[in-house]
Symmetry: C3
Subunit: 428 residues, 3 copies
C-alpha cells in the first residue's frame, strides 16, 4: 500500500516530474526498427513519457526523433516530406535534419538568417536488436548504450514485438515482476505454451503452487527468487532479473527453448508500450517459433490489423470465453498469456489506486521495486549515477536452477546470472 503522494511520484513521467527525470536518464526503447523500413520512408508519430515526437529515417538511413510540432507555426511534421537529408514541414516548407537543425527556410527571403536560429528539439537515437532507442535526458549525463543480451544478438536469434497497453507503465511492469500470478492467471496455459514444453521445471511448478519468494537487490535492479520444493536437499529456484528502470527477463524453461524478456515504457501516464522479446543466445529461432510469435502466441499478442493495439481489449471484454473458463482451458476466460495479463491490469483502471491494495508476502518484489525506483528518483534529482544505467547492469541473465537448501540462491546461482557470450544460459 502506498500513500496517494507516493503513488503520484511513482506513476507521473512527464518532463519535470521526479519519475520523468529518472526515466530520462536511460536509453528508451522508442519504436521498432521495422517501423522506419528504409531511407526517406514516411515519418512515424511516437509518444514517449508524455512527449509527442516524430521519427524519420533520412536519405542516408540515419534516424531522427524530433518534436512532432514544427517550430514555426506548430503544424505536425507527420505531414512532412522526408527527402534529401531532412524532414520538411508541409505547411511552409521549413526543413530539419536528424539533429533538429533547420537546414532550409524557403518561406523567408533569401537574405534571412532566421534559419540559423531555429533548432527543432531532437533526441539522439541508436538502433540495436531491432529496436530504435532514444535518450531524452541531459546530454552530459547520457549513459552507456543499452546492452541487454537480446539487444546484441544477431537478428536471426531475436524476435521483438510491442503492444499498446491502456495503463500506466508501473502496473504493467508490476505484473512482469510478480511471479506469483503465473500459478493462477496462467495456470491452464502452462502446458500448451510451446516455450515451456517438456521441461523438468514445469513439474516442480505444478507440484508446488505456493512458492516462497526471496528478493535481493542487484547492482542494476532486483533478483527475484521463487523457491519451490525439489528432490533431496535441494530447492528449485526460478530467478527473475529486474533491471532498472523497466526491464524484466523471464526465467528459462530448459535451454532448448528461447528466453523471454520485456520492457514497459510510458507512452503517457495512462498508456504504455509493453515490449516483448524472445531470443536464444546460441541458436537461430526456428520458423515454427517465429510463426507462433508473429501470430501473437506466448508472451506476444494478437493485433487489430494495421496497429499495435490488441485485438482483445476493454471494448470487447477481452473476448472473454466463459465456457473456456468453466472448462479450465483459461483461468480467467481470456485467451493468451499477454491478454490474461493486460486484461487484469487494465481492469484496475488506467492508474491503479495503490492506497487501496493489501499486499502479501508474494508481493515482496513489487514492494522493493517501487522502493528502488522512488529512491533512484531522488538520486536522479541530484544528477548522480542511477542503477541500471551501466552496461554491466544489463549483461545479466535469469535462471532456473536447483540449489542445495543450505545455500542462498544468489550464491548458488551466481554463475548462471551473468551473460557469457556464446555460451548457453542455465536452466534445468
Amino acid at each position: 500500500m502506498l500513500t496517494r503522494e507516493q503513488n503520484e511520484r511513482l506513476v507521473r513521467t512527464d518532463r519535470g516530474t521526479e519519475m520523468g527525470t529518472l526515466l530520462r536518464r536511460y536509453w528508451i526503447p522508442a519504436l521498432l526498427a521495422e517501423e522506419l523500413p528504409e531511407p526517406d520512408c514516411p515519418p512515424v508519430r511516437v509518444k514517449l513519457l508524455g512527449e509527442r515526437l516524430i521519427a524519420f529515417r533520412d536519405t542516408e538511413g540515419r534516424v531522427g526523433l524530433l518534436d512532432e510540432l514544427c517550430s514555426h507555426r506548430t503544424a505536425s511534421l507527420f505531414f512532412g516530406r522526408n527527402e534529401e537529408g531532412g524532414l520538411r514541414c508541409a505547411y511552409h516548407g521549413w526543413k530539419y535534419d536528424v539533429a533538429g537543425n533547420c537546414v532550409d527556410m524557403p518561406s523567408e527571403p533569401p537574405e534571412s538568417r532566421m534559419c540559423e536560429k531555429i533548432k527543432q528539439p531532437a533526441y539522439p537515437c541508436v538502433e540495436r536488436g531491432g529496436v530504435i532507442w532514444t535518450y531524452m535526458g541531459p546530454a552530459e549525463l547520457k549513459p552507456e548504450l543499452p546492452d541487454l543480451e537480446w539487444a546484441g544478438l544477431p537478428a536471426s536469434r531475436v524476435f521483438v514485438s510491442k503492444r499498446r497497453q491502456m495503463t500506466n507503465f508501473m502496473q504493467a511492469m508490476e505484473g512482469g515482476i510478480d511471479s506469483s500470478h503465473v500459478s493462477f492467471a496462467h495456470r491452464f496455459n502452462m502446458d500448451d505454451d510451446p516455450m515451456h514444453a517438456g521441461t523438468a521445471g514445469l513439474a516442480y511448478l505444478k507440484a508446488d503452487t505456493r512458492p516462497k519468494f526471496e528478493v535481493v537487490e542487484s547492482d542494476g535492479g532486483l533478483l527475484i527468487g521463487a523457491r519451490r520444493n525439489a528432490e533431496d536437499e535441494q530447492y528449485y529456484w526460478r530467478i527473475t532479473q529486474w533491471i532498472m528502470p523497466w526491464y524484466t527477463i523471464i526465467p528459462p524453461f530448459g535451454t532448448h527453448n528461447p528466453l523471454g524478456a520485456h520492457a514497459w515504457v510510458p507512452i503517457d501516464d495512462e498508456t504504455c508500450w509493453a515490449w516483448s522479446i524472445n531470443y536464444h543466445p546460441t541458436r537461430d529461432l526456428t520458423e515454427a517459433e517465429l510463426t507462433a510469435m508473429r501470430n501473437g502466441e506466448g508472451i506476444h499478442a494478437k493485433y487489430i490489423p494495421g496497429t499495435y493495439d490488441t485485438l482483445a481489449n476493454a471494448s470487447n471484454d477481452y473476448l472473454i470465453d466463459r465456457q473456456a473458463q468453466k472448462d479450465k482451458k483459461s483461468f480467467s476466460g481470456v485467451e493468451g498469456i499477454a491478454a490474461q495479463d493486460f486484461s487484469l491490469q487494465e481492469s484496475m483502471g488506467a492508474i491503479v489506486d495503490r492506497t487501496k491494495e493489501r499486499l502479501g508476502t508474494s508481493d515482496a518484489a513489487i514492494i522493493l521495486a517501487r522502493r528502488r525506483l522512488l529512491a533512484a528518483a531522488e538520486t536522479a534529482a541530484k544528477g548522480d549515477p542511477v542503477p541500471g544505467d551501466q552496461g554491466a547492469h544489463h549483461r545479466v541473465r535469469s535462471a532456473s536452477v536447483l540449489v542445495p537448501k543450505s545455500v542462498p540462491f544468489q550464491e548458488g546461482a551466481a554463475d548462471a546470472l551473468v551473460v557469457r557470450d556464446g555460451e548457453d544460459f542455465v536452466s534445468i
Copy 2:
C-alpha cells in the same frame, strides 16, 4: 427553479453525499434476477450510486454483491472464477464468499493468517419479483424488505424490464411524476397502446387536455391527483402514487389491463436505470401482452441486442421520423412511450440545470417531490427513520376514479389507494 446548490444536493448520490446517504437507507433494485440465471454462472458488473460492484450467484444459489475490485491488488472480479461457493480473483486466486469473507488465499504460505483479516466490501441481497435488491446502508438501519405490490406477485403476473438512461435519476423520475406531459409527448400514442385500450377514462383524458393538479403528501411519498371534468357533479381523477425515494405507479386504464410502475435508480450521477414493470394482481399476463412487453412496447423499450441500452439513442437522434411527426403519428417524431420520454429527458443534458427552468402549476408534483427528498436527506443525515422505508408505505395503489366534486380526491378514493391482496384495483 432551484439554486445551484439545491440542485447539487438533489442529484449527487456518491457515498458521502447527502442524497447518497438518503438513498442508501432503502432497498435498491440492483439487477434482474435473470442476469444471474443459475448457480456458478458468470459474474455481472453492476454500478449503483457511483459504486462499481460485481454480482454473482454462488454454488448454492445465493447472490453476492461485492466491490468490483479485489482487495489484494485491485484487479476486477469480473474475470473471477465463480466456483465452489465463492468468487475467486483471476489474478492471484483470492476467493470470496457472498458475504465478502476471504475464504482462500492460495498465493500466501499455508501458515499465513492474512486471509482472516481480509473482508471484501459486500452488500446483502434479496430476490423479489424477478429483481435482485440490495441494501447499501448501515446495517443497524436496514429497513423492512421491499414490499411493493408487484414485487410480491407470482412470476406469471409480472413483467419487469430495465433500460439504461443517460441522465441523472432525478430528471428521469421527474418525468415519471409529471402527469402533464402525457397529453403532449404521448398524445398520438394513447389509442395504440394495448394497455389503454377501450377504457372510459381515455375519453375523459382526450376531452380535457388541461387537467388541474392536486398533490398531497402520503406517508411514504406523494399522491398526485390529475382532475378532469366528467359527467354530472363528478370529476375524473387519475391518481399517481410516488413512493420515496424512486418508485411511481401509473394510474390504471380499466381493471382488465395490467398496471404499470417504474423505479428510477442512479447508476452514477449521469446515468440511471429506468425500471419498468407491468403487473396484474388477480390474473396472469397473457402471451400477447408478454410478447408486446418483450418487444419493447408500452412503457418498455427496444434494446441494442445483447445490452440494456436503448436502440433509439442520442447517437441516432432517437430514430426521429419527421414524417410521422408531421402526420400526427408521434408528437415528437420519436416512436414509443419510453423513447419519447428519455429522448426529451436526455436532451436536457446529463444533469438538468434547474436554475434555468420556469415551473408552472402543472409542475406541482415535481416541486413537492424535490422538497420531500431534500427534507428526507436532512432526516437521513441524523439517522432518523425516513419516509418510504416501511412496508406499509409500499403497499399502495394508484387509481382512476370518479369522485363527487365536493369531495377531496384522497378521501373519495381512499379505499382505492391501498393494496388489498387478491382483490382487484379500482379503475373506471
Copy 3:
C-alpha cells in the same frame, strides 16, 4: 508569438469573453438557407460562439433562431413541432414564434397569464447569398446588413458550402490570410485546380516562390499584398482582403475564373465553420463549375454523406497517400486544397499554443490581424463602433495586378480593390 494570456483573449468566444463580445457585434453566417428548405420544415440544431441554438422556418417562411432548450423544463426544441406559426416543445407543448414570444402554453390553466411572461431567447435572422445570418449582440448596436459582394449576387452566380473544422476559428482564419503556405502546402495542386487554369499570374507564382509581403490596414481589416517579380519595372501583386472579423477574399486568377472567399466562424472554442464561397460578379457559374464545387473540389471539401463533416479527418489520418506525396502529386500527401489546409491546422491541436510559435516575415498578416482583433475587442468592450461593421467595409475586392515598382501596391491597385456593381474585377 503571443503570451498565454493574449492567446486566451484571442480564442475564447463564449458570451462574456472579450472576443465573444466583439464577434457579437457582427452579423454571423449561421447556417445554409438550404438547411431550412421550406415553411414548417424540421428544426435544425445550430451552435455558434458556444451557444446551443435551434433554427426553424415558420409557416410564413420566416426564420427563427432560439435558444435550443425550452424555457419551461429545458427539453430540446429539436424535438419540437414546427407548425402554425411557431415551434412547439414536444414535452409540454409550450410554443414560440420566431421572435421567441411564447404564443401558447397548453399545460397551464386557461386563465393563466404565465405565457405572457415567458420569452425564449431569440436572435434576429436575415437571408442573403444562400446564407442565413444572425446577430447575437445588443439590439442598440446592430450593424448594417452584411454586404459582401457574393452575398448580394443572384443565386446563379454564387456557390456556398460549409464544413466543420476541428479547431478554433482563429487558426483556421490564420490559414486563410497566410498567402505564404500556398507555395508549399498546395504547390502541386496549382495546375489541376480548374479555378486557376491558364492564367498569366500562375506563371509568376511558380517562378518566384519567395514573395515579399506587405500588409496595410484597410478601413475594415487588412490589405495583404504578396509581391513577386514580373517583367520590366513591374511587380506582380496578389492582394488579399481580410475583412473583420472573419472574412477573406482570395486574389483572382484571371477574370474568366470565379472568385473565392471564406468566412471562419466559431462553433465553440474548439470547432468552427469554414465557409467557402465561389462567385462571379458578371456571369452565371457553369454546370461544370458547379459539379466540381458540389463534388468538394477547389476550396470546397468532400463530406461524410449526410453531414457537413469532412470525409478526410483525424480518425483516418486525412486519407494521406504517401505515394502521392513521394510522386509530387500532393505536397503533404493529403488530397484537395481544403483538406491540405485543415489537416495541418487540426494537427496543431484544437487551440494552437501560440506561445510556442516562431514567426517570420511571411507571417506579417497574421501578426497584424491578431493585433487588430485584440484592439477591436477593447473597442467593443466600450460599446464603440468596430472595424468591419459597415457596408462599405464589405464592398471590397481582392485583386491580382501588375504595378510599377515605384508605386505602392495599395495606390497602384486602388481601383481594383472596391466593388463596382456589374463590372468585372481586375486580374491579369
